[in-house]
């Protein structure tokens, strides 16, 4: 796994990017709040109108189209919250190694048949406090990103292990406090990220993908997940080609005591 502690390349750039994304997330939360208020009024009254109209009328057909359009707007605010929400919706204790092991079928199903999946899960007992659905979404987005970089063939490795960071060796560009972390690292042997792509990888709606079904918030949702769980996310080149994406999550305190 990439050692973020030893790599200080681009520290200032990454920190600036992280600070900027945090500011964008605050802005996005305000937008989501105001926008949902507008959608609440529009969709509520639209639904009332639809209950009073003959479903075969032209007007009813037009309102169906309005409903679809507003539904897409509502889905967009939901998507924005994957990036911008500032706290987990349903935090609960989880064993990250067991979580990844259970997730393996979903991980394999998202990748081309020619990609081998290897799990390296720490033997010791680890515990994190996460929103499970949010955690799954974050890991699968990292997997999607790795899969796109590999195409039809390759090797994907997911490791889970504990890192203890003190005040002197905090990873580059991260807003992490000293302490114990679980690191979920997703490593591929694909095309790798250029420095430019790496610096923009967490920006909302940034994508190098051709597949339209995977555009959207992409890795910025992983950043949002990490921030609201007081963690971090880091990308580093893999020796020999490819990328190692590391997701840092604080160890649950009970585990440290």
């Amino acid at each position: 796994m990439h050692d973020p502690i030893a790599d200080t390349t681009g520290t200032d750039d990454l920190q600036a990017e992280s600070n900027e994304l945090s500011a964008v997330a605050r802005f996005a939360r305000h937008v989501v709040h105001d926008f949902n208020n507008v959608l609440g009024t529009a969709l509520g009254n639209l639904e009332l109108a639809q209950t009073t109209l003959d479903k075969s009328s032209d007007s009813s057909g037009y309102l169906v189209k309005v409903d679809r359009a507003l539904g897409r707007a509502a889905a967009l605010t939901d998507e924005l919250l994957l990036f911008a929400a500032d706290r987990p919706a349903h935090p609960a204790a989880a064993d990250p190694a067991a979580f990844i092991r259970q997730l393996k079928p979903k991980i394999s199903a998202r990748l081309a048949p020619g990609i081998a999946v290897e799990l390296r899960l720490s033997g010791g007992e680890l515990s994190v406090e996460v929103d499970a659905a949010d955690f799954e979404s974050a890991v699968l987005r990292l997997v999607d990103n790795a899969g796109d970089a590999m195409g039809e063939e390759g090797q994907l490795r997911i490791s889970v292990e504990k890192h203890v960071l003190d005040g002197r060796d905090l990873p580059a560009g991260q807003s992490l406090s000293p302490g114990s972390y679980v690191v979920v690292a997703v490593t591929d042997n694909g095309t790798g990220m250029t420095e430019e792509i790496r610096s923009r990888a967490l920006s909302p709606f940034f994508s190098t993908r051709r597949r339209s079904d995977r555009r959207g918030l992409g890795l910025s949702a992983v950043f949002g997940f990490a921030m609201r769980h007081r963690g971090g996310v880091d990308f580093a080149p893999r020796t020999g080609g490819g990328t190692c994406a590391s997701l840092y999550l604080p160890c649950r305190k009970v585990e440290e005591e």
Binding site: N36, G40, A42
Partner: protein, 121 residues
């Protein structure tokens, strides 16, 4: 006797949506846009249930929740908001720590069925 519902939301068009759904559910409904009138109307109307927008321009919804707790409110409260987890959580805690009144949280947009279900619970 019909159940009484007091609605406070600064958007009158959302308030009218809640009124229509609540009246169809059998409620006698009063809708307020002005938060300053809330305390007076609350005492006169004696609602069984309250729909409250947590974030409004002039009065913090949390202030209203604190006031409701201070007067021993027993009406169940449905908190609505676009997205304000801090406010929602704070208001929910205040409501629950006060009088034991039931609190439901709904995030806009809200469908007729979701609102009806919350009103019927």
């Amino acid at each position: 006797m019909r159940q009484r519902l007091l609605v406070l939301d600064d958007d009158p068009d959302f308030g009218s949506f809640v009124r229509k759904v609540a009246e169809d559910a059998g409620y006698e409904v009063t809708v307020l846009e002005d938060a300053h009138a809330f305390k007076r109307v609350y005492q006169q109307f004696a609602p069984h249930r309250i729909v409250l927008d947590v974030v409004m321009p002039e009065i913090d919804g949390i202030e209203i929740m604190k006031w409701l707790a201070s007067v021993g409110n027993t009406a169940s409260v449905i908190l609505v908001s676009g997205y304000s987890p801090h406010y929602m959580k704070a208001a929910e805690l205040i409501a629950k720590s006060g009088t034991g009144a039931e609190v439901t949280v709904l995030v806009k947009p809200i469908s007729i069925s979701d609102l009806t279900q919350a009103l019927n619970n």
